[in-house]
């Protein structure tokens, strides 16, 4: 299938070669080092190739070989817990092979070919049965957390000719055969390949129904995302995109997490590699690394491989979805991927439309985000891919092309604000700019599983926050003295909500993850304080007096005083609110005071 040609022109990551028969999307090997690339356009007998590796040292007249296949990933047991580059080469194996620097032209298998896996064939599957794409052939214990379901590749169907008995097999061993309707025999293995630019097929789309619980209050309680949804985290540098994505990777109740480091810092991936094996999943108690997979193409790695890396992550995600899992993909940052597109299109001389981006930016982004979703798989189970992309707008300007296109595509938008980050209000999610289209769907879950008051209290808190914004404007014009006691109280409880509820430090062990129960109780406590305080004002208590109450400082520390498990502690605090305010009431309900209060009300 290979066809040979020669290099004509090298310009950064773009190479033009004389390759008359190569197809668009076909893989090409270039130069004496065998650098890998992919045909992205054709002009007469010439192929325009984007190269995944640094093209330094390539020469015109050097060899170009079209390989007859598209860029694809290997899918099978042994991927979880690993770190791969943008081309799915395992970085740890590369480290062993060539040392600390990444060498070019290295071909390394994603999966250990020698390792043997304990395969157990599916019980109900008999020889002669009709099997098709997605049929579960059996299982392999990937690790203590995840059972790997071995599926029929999506593009094969027919009659099961044979299937091996339970036993130990390597990924290249034939575990069975299928005879298709033309009589051709297809061999089955524990692993298979799939081209990354083609979405893996599924039965049909289904509605997302369950919130993705991230343990982050501003997300779960205020701007929820559903499993199978699409979310974005835009923000200027230093606003907290990466930390928030790492928090989701750590604490969310997904079964599989794929972390795509796309054009960002090397040390951030090192941090994940260092910390995840030591952290345990709050739900399974197992090391987080067992459910996690990293795709790493850092900012200093070749730009074309960066463009590919998001597709590699997505395809692996879809593969686990097809096994019936809820998968979360975090991509940090989608802007770097878009910039890779821009760089390639710029070198091709394509007409830029906005800030140098090609006209197809929007459609490329939306086609990619469309691969997320909750589906009925080919074998009739449910699985989902939730996609959360960080967006890095130049100068923090949300009107730039990548942010604005993304905003049109996604369902939950967690807008990070520089002002909040500068004041070290983390997560710096701006409650006025952010939105979620999933609040009603999430409410159903909260009402069924946690408490029926969720929606009411959440809305009350948001209302307080936005009212306080108005009030702050007044204060900034004429000073706080212009506010009534009630208004002052609104302002101050909004502040309490911001500091005691919205602020949540990823670095604080007690607070890094917040269970839904704890989230709800804290929300309820805050609103309770507001309501009781408002009552006191009505009977004439001066607002200054109210603000002096030790409760106001104490409430700001509840989040670190009580762990997610210590629900009882928070419930006690809730019960203590009434007596606390009752005591205040008796103090202020003395005859003199209450006359004053009446005069106030009339």
């Amino acid at each position: 299938m290979n066809s040979e040609g020669t290099i004509l022109d090298i310009q950064g990551p773009i190479v033009i070669a004389q390759l008359p028969s190569a197809l668009i999307g076909e893989q090409v090997k270039l130069g004496s080092e065998g650098l890998m690339g992919e045909v992205i356009a054709r002009e007469d007998g010439r192929a325009i190739i984007q190269v995944y590796e640094n093209t330094e040292g390539l020469r015109p007249e050097g060899p170009a070989t079209a390989l007859g296949s598209q860029l694809s990933v290997e899918l099978g047991p042994g991927l979880l817990g690993g770190i791969f580059d943008g081309l799915q080469r395992p970085l740890n194996t590369m480290l062993d092979l060539t040392g600390e620097r990444i060498e070019r032209g290295l071909v390394v298998s994603a999966i250990d070919r020698n390792r043997r896996w304990a395969f157990v064939p599916a019980e109900e599957l008999k020889v002669g049965a009709q099997v098709s794409g997605g049929t579960i052939l059996g299982t392999v214990p990937e690790n203590e957390t995840i059972t790997h379901r071995i599926l029929m590749p999506p593009d094969i169907a027919g009659e099961l000719h044979d299937l091996v008995p339970a036993g130990e097999y390597a990924v290249d061993d034939v575990i069975g055969r299928v005879r298709d309707r033309y009589g051709n025999i297809h061999k089955l293995h524990l692993s298979s390949r799939w081209p990354v630019r083609i979405p893996r097929p599924f039965g049909k789309r289904d509605n997302a129904v369950q919130p993705l619980i991230t343990g982050q209050r501003i997300m779960d309680t205020f701007f929820p995302l559903l499993k199978g949804g699409k979310g974005a985290i835009p923000g200027p540098f230093g606003a907290g995109k990466t930390v928030l994505q790492q928090q989701i990777a750590r604490w969310s109740d997904a079964q599989i997490v794929i972390y795509v480091g796309c054009g960002e810092r090397g040390n951030e991936l090192t941090e994940v590699l260092d910390t995840f094996p030591k952290l345990t999943d709050p739900r399974t108690g197992r090391p987080l690394m067992e459910r996690t997979l990293l795709v790493a193409n850092t900012s200093n790695m070749p730009v074309v491989a960066r463009e590919v890396s998001v597709y590699v992550g997505m395809t692996i995600g879809e593969y686990f979805r097809d096994q019936g899992y809820d998968v979360v993909i975090v991509a940090d940052s989608t802007s770097r991927w878009a910039e890779a597109l821009r760089e390639v299109s710029g070198r091709l001389g394509q007409m830029p439309v906005e800030e140098g981006y090609p006209a197809y930016l929007g459609s490329t982004l939306s086609a990619f985000y469309e691969r997320a979703g909750r589906v009925v798989t080919l074998n009739g189970n449910h699985g989902s891919v939730t996609l959360i992309g960080a967006v890095s707008p130049p100068g923090g300007d949300f009107s730039e092309p990548v942010t604005s296109h993304t905003k049109d595509i996604i369902q939950t938008f967690w807008a990070l604000s520089k002002d909040l980050a500068d004041a070290r209000h983390y997560p710096a999610v701006d409650w006025l700019e952010s939105f979620s289209l999933f609040v009603d769907a999430a409410a159903k879950w909260w009402h069924e599983n946690i408490n029926e008051d969720w929606m009411r209290l959440r809305n009350a808190a948001l209302r307080l926050l936005s009212e306080s914004e108005e009030l702050a404007r007044i204060v900034n014009l004429v000073g706080v003295e212009a506010l009534s006691g009630q208004q002052r109280w609104t302002l101050e409880t909004a502040k309490l909500i911001r500091e005691g509820l919205l602020q949540q430090s990823a670095l604080e062990p007690q607070d890094s993850f917040c269970s839904p129960q704890k989230q709800f109780l804290m929300l309820k406590l805050m609103i309770e304080i507001y309501n009781r305080g408002a009552e006191m004002l009505r009977i004439g208590m001066p607002v200054q007096e109210l603000l002096r109450q030790p409760l106001m400082a104490k409430a700001r520390r509840w989040k670190i005083v009580y762990s997610s498990e210590d629900i009882e502690g928070l419930e006690k605090e809730l019960q203590a609110i009434e007596p606390t305010f009752d005591a205040l009431r008796t103090e202020y309900a003395s005859p003199v005071q209450s006359t004053g209060a009446k005069a106030d009300l009339s």
Binding site: D9, I10, Q11, G12, I16, T55, E56, G57, L58, R59, P60, E61, I83, L91, N92, L95, G99, E100, R101, I102, E103, R104, F237, G238, G263, R265, G266, N267, L269, T270, E271, L273, A296, T298, S299, N300, V303, R336, E339, R342, E343, G346, P352, E355, G356, P394, G396, D397, K418, A423, R424, N476, L477, G479, E481, S505, L507, P550, A553, R557
Partner: protein, 468 residues
Amino acid sequence: MSMLEYRSSAWARGGLLAMRNVPGVALGDRVAVRDHLGNRRNGQVIRSSSEMVLIQIFEGTDNLDLERTWVRFLDQPFELALAPEMLGRVFNGVGQPRDGRPPIISSLARNVNGAAINPAARAYPREFIQTGISTIDGMNTLVRGQKLPVFSGSGLPHNRLAAQIVRQAKLLAYGDDNREGQESFALVFAAMGVSHSDAQFFEESFEESGVLGQVVNFINLADDPPIERLILPRVALTCAEYLAFDLGMHVLVVMTDMTYYAEALREIATGKGDVPARKGFPGYLYSDLAEIYERAGRVRNKKGSITLIPVVSMPSDDITHPVPDLTGYITEGQIVLSRELMAANIQPPVSVLPSLSRLMKDGIGEGMTREDHARVSSQLFASYAKAQEVRSLAAIIGAEELSQEDNQYLKFAEAFEQRFVSQGEHEDRSIFHTLDLAWEILSLLPKEALTRLSEKDIEAHYLSTGTQ
């Protein structure tokens, strides 16, 4: 092939030289150009096709007489010869001596572009470097292997700050007296487009701190060819990598000024006709800067480290300008200088709110600095941010109208700037001094306002005399 000289130049402009009909030249290869005066210029192939080869000339293309320009393709990538004798030397942007001494001869030479560090090979930086500067140590801690730029503006004292860091940086773990033995410390100084007087200032400052013998200088001054600035940081970092990962030294790299570097890149990009993204800078500026900045760090099982302090001047003090903006997206934080503070005579004028150290969290706390460090820092940020709000309020309604608590915030902000931020150019504060000072200033606020601190912290450190 390296013996052949070509004279087939098609055109030359803006640092670019195009050659026709030179077959089979490898991208990135080094080129030697001899101009009509017999002077040698250095070049590198940046595009190669069968018909045309495009070369960037580091000395620029001014006064090139195409008829009398001879070009030799050296058939080798751009490499730098490396040897321990580089310490104490001064080179230009392409690595040739500037100090009148002989060039470095070595059997070891490396491609100046370097190869990317495998992310799985990195070791996470976590060793606290005490700079003796309160705003950095206390609130934006630097660790070994970090890349932490200084964002500045024209006329702001970024050079003084960088020099003070060089002078005072030490590892706490090795005691107060010095770096862990002089021999394992090295400084790589990369100057791009700086003035003679600034270069002089640095030299004197290195001399004064007694590190001259440990410094490798790569100097391109304001009146040197701008295109040379494109290769200079790569040459300097190739040297730094050698010192750090071959010789096991802890290398501090000071790079100034990255904005001039980026402007040189823009010049070449424009000449090539690259599609501009913002402010005329090419879309690949991010990747290009990342190739430089990401060379800092630590590597597993290797002794040395590269800590990188680039100086980035913000044109018109605009932090959203592409160069500081993209830098901030790549580096592990930033130290931002402010003209307002400087006008108020606060030195060094570090504006803490937009400053950040992303690697701070793992380098501080019990056993490294002090147990309360993270919370004290967080409280300082929160209180100072609040104080700024109060200030703008006071500007509108007048300080007399402020509440008592708000007045306390004004006092706090005043003390914070005058006593915590402001410190002498030669004042070297220990981290403990810095933290104690922070408590003194925080104690100007009522205890109830210090919600980022634990009750235990307040019990242990709050100075009750501070209030009122």
